[in-house]
């Protein structure tokens, strides 16, 4: 019983509120502090985490609402340890980025930003179904404001579309969660995952409820064909926000599959496996193909995310005995977050060099006077296309191996996704950095305030590429537990 996780998740909120009350000027400072302390916490946790031990660590478990059997129970294990770290890292980076370029009404921005981090972290560490759902739905609110107030031209419409579309899933999940708890509770109603895992439902109700959860997660990812909200949202969301949104929020969905769906509905998962694999496959191919037809950088990255999350879904539902697929999915979730965030920030820099345009057709030749930017961008690009030697490749290697063992054909088709990825990623790089200069391009290298954010992120990517073992070891036990649950 420790308070650490509570501090970890509520610190940003606290600072956000304080920042809201503080005088206008210092608000960004509050945001930075609010984002960096959790980062420190997470780093310490990484060091302190006991890889060998099974089960949860840093557990907090208090009664919250007896009436509904909802407990305030948090915990860290192999599944969420690194995702928490990733979250704190990306939020810290993004907060710093914003603090160095304060937007209008920075105070309000900081408030929503803090709420967002709290919600995401909460969703990651929650060990109670209702608590998870609560944070999962809460996540959307701050992003609605961030998109709606600081977004691009059609921000309001995009924001409404995003929230409504994704909440349709989330609310169904809410109902499903309640149903699960009510049906599964032995006596007293309980939402505690540990209890729910113990007494599972009948196969039919499992199928129904799993469908609700799956829908919610697939929409959130987003996964083909439920990505209708994505283009508008991505086109209009402010880039630093988009960095964390695309980097982290989508991972909550993937994590949800591992934490909630697989353990609670094993039989349903077994029945729906092929369907979900096919959805994942379609996401990979469709996302990749669209990614190399788009010219708007945000959309290229958006569709590439669809493909990447397709891979993650693929891994989760590989359900191979060793749990390689899930292991890879977990790793890939971290990797994708780690690469997509800097990419969005770089996109901001590119736009700054292409007279504000985010369209590839207006770019080209930006590398000429920006060697540092070009190098960082190149590293991130290669990581994105899962070049062997990057941690992303390790992730995909595990995923594909997992699928290869359960569904050979799927694996072989999916591997074309790797090829397509190399096409759209390089296309993005070449058409922005290489070739003849675009008409409005003025090439200049990145400044200190860009480097201070981007370089650490890229270093993180490199470090991860050299030694992914750490994350794998942490995840191994937990992942196997999950997959065994399904196998049983």
């Amino acid at each position: 019983m420790t308070i650490h996780l509570s501090i970890l998740i509520f610190w940003p909120l606290l600072l956000a509120v304080l920042g809201g009350l503080a005088p206008r000027g210092v608000a960004p400072l509050f945001a930075v502090v609010g984002a960096f302390v959790p980062l420190g916490y997470a780093v310490i946790m990484l060091a302190d985490f006991d890889t060998g031990a099974a089960g949860l660590q840093y557990v907090t478990d208090d009664a919250w609402i007896d009436e509904l059997g909802i407990r305030y129970s948090l915990g860290i294990d192999g599944l969420n340890l690194w995702l928490v770290a990733l979250t704190t890292l990306l939020f810290a980076a993004s907060a710093l980025w914003v603090a160095l370029r304060p937007p209008v009404r920075a105070k309000l921005f900081a408030v929503h930003f803090g709420i967002a981090e709290t919600a995401v972290l909460g969703a990651f560490v929650a060990q109670d179904l209702a608590l998870f759902v609560l944070f999962f739905d809460l996540m959307l609110v701050p992003f609605y404001f961030l998109l709606g107030q600081w977004g691009g031209p059609e921000r309001v419409a995009a924001a409404v579309k995003m929230v409504v579309y994704t909440l349709v899933g989330s609310l169904l999940m809410l109902a499903a969660a309640v149903a699960t708890a009510v049906l599964a509770s032995p006596g007293e109603l309980t939402f505690a995952l540990s209890d729910l895992r113990e007494n599972l439902l009948g196969e039919n109700s499992q199928k129904l409820l799993f469908a609700a959860f799956a829908l919610a997660f697939l929409i959130k990812m987003p996964s083909f064909p439920f990505h209708g909200w994505m283009p508008d949202a991505y086109r209009n969301m402010p880039l630093p926000v988009l960095a964390v949104f695309s980097g982290v929020v989508s991972k909550v969905a993937a994590y949800g599959f591992l934490r909630i769906a697989l353990p609670l509905f094993p039989e349903a998962v077994a029945d729906w496996q092929l369907i979900l694999l096919i959805i994942a496959l379609l996401s990979i191919v469709y996302g990749s193909v669209l990614a190399f037809t788009q010219t708007n950088i945000r959309l290229i990255l958006g569709y590439s995310s669809i493909a990447q999350l397709g891979f993650i879904t693929l891994g989760i539902f590989a359900l191979d005995p060793e749990g390689r697929g899930a292991q890879g999915a977990l790793l890939q979730a971290i990797n994708h977050g780690l690469v997509v965030a800097p990419l969005f920030l770089i996109a901001a820099l590119l736009a700054a060099r292409a007279a504000g345009s985010e369209d590839l057709r207006d770019m080209g030749g930006i590398a000429t006077r920006a060697p540092v930017l070009a190098t960082l961008f190149m590293i991130v690009t290669l990581a994105t296309l899962a070049m062997p030697g990057s941690a992303n490749f390790v992730g995909e290697f595990f995923i594909l191996l997992g699928v290869f063992e359960s569904e050979l054909a799927v694996a072989i088709i999916a591997s074309t996704g790797v090829i397509l990825a190399s096409v759209y990623a390089l296309r993005l790089y070449i058409r922005s950095m290489h070739n003849r200069e675009g008409p409005a391009v003025t090439s200049f290298d990145m400044g200190l305030r860009d480097a201070i954010v981007l370089v650490p992120l890229v270093l993180a990517i490199l470090a991860f590429a050299v030694y992914p073992q750490l994350a794998l070891e942490a995840g191994e036990g937990a992942v196997q537990a999950v997959t065994e649950a399904v196998a049983r």
Binding site: T293, R324, P388
Partner: protein, 671 residues
């Protein structure tokens, strides 16, 4: 120090060089980086040499040493470690790679002198060497794949080194994507093998393979074929070869190093390395051999007609690698590696010479516009001829021994491999022809303006505008384009040194393995192939060898003679021949329509699907049916509700009454 330590050092130096150059890109003057890079490789080479001796000092059977650096991805029953394997095979490769690389670095120090991207060039080049050595030293599939992809990336970076040339970037992405195809093949192949042996480590796998798979076991064959996909993509074998000719967009040293000497031979190395698997899956091996043979003929035919200097050499590279693949796939391992080595020498040499010529031509590579450089650039001419003789296998040059060794072993292999041997001779005939066609057209005949400029005024030809030789579009000389002082034919010392060195090697390189005289290489490599079924047995009889050598030299000389008659004696003859064999000529000129085929089968459909998805599907289904449909439904309902809410009190009352009635009806019915 132990042999593995040297192995790590071999890896460490180039990497350190890359990082150092990268970090000091602003601190040191450009030239310093050139020297730094060369130095790094030199050290690496030294380490390789030491490793060689260290290895020699070990006993026959413990000449396969594995060293584990750290666990890379050891989880869920997967054993992907950072571990290197030092054995004669990898050592030979180390030596060749680091050695040739060193010379080419040296060459580049001068050749790239005028380029604005000088520092970047050496960073890339060092990175490439590191990757190549990683590939060579990898002790498990995972690391092999890593190195494999790294060299691919390095080659991409160097191909599109002049990144503001659209032609260059296109060539780059083409090369990269095809290489990724290879990587994927390698990965999937690994899966198949891993499924059987349950380990990624080479030596474990090789031990397991016998017990894990039966002969020609389905999984194993599939795995090996997929490995071949990887090998072919990297070694530009049919049908995954189309990237290599385009890769000539890169600076000439790159072509020399990557696309002639080292990277493209990785496939050969892979097959040799995986020999236990291929011997267990002969079907796959045969496929390899046949495709290799096909490649060598196709490439040679194209080489006969291409008019681009560098591309001629590129195609000849393809065809030579075809020999090697054919060799290692038919268990002539030593011969294959031998040819790999000699080829590295003379092909690098040829490229350097070509680079010198191209420099003199101010970037132009078209043979039709060349001529008469013999007196203008004697040194280059000399090198070119030596290289040419070696390539076309004229005794006593290195190529002669290696190539004929291969063919001899093919004959020794009996049954249908004999056919391959015969075709090998056909290939070598064509080789001799196109090689000397190239040489004659570039050096003999009336000096062209550029040559004359060099002869009469002793300085290089400078066009008023730098242009892209492919498209002829005007360029500046800033970063991303060739620099202003980019024309330094054979002037500078480092170039001469490098070329001279290679010329020497190309001449005497064959000495290491002369049939029935000196079997050094064969013995040296033996420990690496101790588990091979053929290595010992496959031994051509003395007479066969002698006959082979004689036929080989005869064919080569004949080829040279033909070339001489055609392009020196009566230059109008080729035109006539073209008329005669118009059909063949068209096929050859269009490179057997491979690009078109791939474009038709892969690129176009993909693009079409993409356009369809982006324009139609996204709108009609994803946003139309799913989003628009539901929202439309809701709006409709909203409209309906608000129409009913029309403000007429009596309407409300009516609805009230209706509600009451229906409710009453329901209750009556349920009663």
């Amino acid at each position: 120090m132990s042999v593995t330590t040297y192995g790590w050092l071999v890896l460490a130096f180039p990497l350190a060089g890359t990082i150092l150059i990268g970090l000091t890109w602003r601190l040191l003057p450009a030239r310093a980086h050139g020297i730094l890079g060369t130095l790094a490789i030199a050290l690496s080479f030294a380490a390789a040499v030491l490793a060689f001796f260290e290895l020699e000092s070990l006993g026959e059977e413990e000449r396969q040493v594995v060293a584990v650096g750290w666990n890379y991805a050891v989880a869920n029953g997967l054993d992907a470690k950072v571990s290197i394997l030092i054995d004669p095979l990898s050592t030979l490769m180390m030596l060749v790679v680091s050695g040739v690389s060193m010379l080419i670095h040296l060459y580049s120090v001068a050749y790239m002198g005028g380029d604005r991207g000088y520092t970047r060039f050496f960073a890339y080049l060092n990175f490439f060497v590191f990757s190549m050595l990683l590939l060579v030293l990898a002790a498990n599939f995972f690391l092999l794949i890593v190195g494999w992809a790294f060299v691919g990336a390095a080659s991409y970076l160097l191909i599109s080194f002049w990144y503001r040339r659209t032609t260059a970037t296109q060539a780059g992405i083409k090369a990269f994507v095809i290489n990724v195809v290879g990587d994927v093949g390698l990965v999937l192949g690994t899966y198949f093998i891993f499924r059987g042996t349950g380990s990624l480590d080479f030596l474990t796998t090789f031990e397991e393979v016998g017990s894990a798979f039966g002969r020609n076991d389905g999984d194993l064959v599939a795995g090996c074929l997929l490995l071949l996909v990887g090998a072919f993509a990297k070694s530009a074998q049919v049908p995954l070869h189309t990237w290599l000719p385009d890769a000539m967009e890169g600076p000439t040293p790159v072509s020399a190093l990557i696309h002639a000497a080292t990277m493209v031979t990785a496939g050969v190395y892979l097959i040799a390395r995986m020999h236990p698997l291929f011997e267990q899956a002969p079907v796959a091996a045969d496929v390899g051999a046949i495709l290799g043979c096909a490649t060598l003929l196709i490439a040679a035919t194209i080489g006969l007609v291409v008019t681009d200097l560098k591309r001629v050499i590129a195609y000849s590279t393809m065809s030579q690698i075809g020999y090697m693949v054919m060799a290692v796939s038919s268990a002539a391992y030593a011969a294959g590696m031998f040819h790999l080595m000699t080829h590295a020498f003379f092909k690098a040499l040829l490229f350097m010479a070509a680079g010198s010529v191209i420099a003199a031509m101010a970037g132009t590579q078209n043979l039709d516009r060349m001529g008469g450089f013999r007196r203008a650039m004697p040194f280059t001419f000399g090198c070119m001829v030596i290289g040419g003789l070696a390539l076309s296998g004229v005794p006593p040059f290195s190529g002669f021994f290696s190539k004929d060794e291969i063919i001899a072993l093919l004959f020794a292999r009996e049954d249908w491999h004999v056919v391959l041997g015969v075709l090998g001779y056909v290939g070598s005939f064509m080789t001799a022809i196109y090689t000397f066609r190239m040489i004659f057209r570039a050096f003999s005949g009336e000096p062209v303006t550029e040559a004359r400029e060099l002869l009469d005024h002793g300085h290089l030809y400078h066009p008023e505008h730098p242009t892209n030789p492919m498209t002829g579009e005007i360029e500046d000389t800033d970063v991303g384009f060739p620099g202003p002082e980019h024309h330094i034919a054979e002037r500078e010392a480092p170039m001469k040194a490098a070329m001279g060195m290679l010329a020497l090697l190309a001449t005497i390189g064959g000495a290491v393995q002369i049939p029935s005289v000196n079997e050094a290489l064969h013995h040296f490599l033996e420990p690496a192939f101790h588990d091979s079924r053929f290595y010992e047995e496959l031994e051509p009889s003395g007479t066969l060898t002698i006959v082979g050598l004689l036929i080989g030299s005869a064919i080569a000389l004949l080829g040279i003679f033909v070339a001489y008659t055609l392009w020196v004696r009566s230059p109008e003859r080729p035109r006539a021949l073209q008329q005669r064999f118009a059909f063949l000529h068209r096929i050859f000129v269009n490179k057997w329509y491979f690009d078109e085929g791939i474009d038709l089968l892969v690129v176009r459909p993909m693009a079409w699907v993409g356009r369809f998805a982006a324009s139609t599907f996204e709108r009609t289904f994803v946003n139309g049916a799913l989003v628009g449909g539901t929202s439309g439904l809701v709006r409709l309902g909203s409209a309906a509700v608000r129409r009913v809410q029309n403000g007429y009190l009596r309407y409300y009352a009516a609805l009230l009454l209706m509600g009451i009635t229906t409710l009453g009806a329901y209750f009556l019915i349920s009663a």
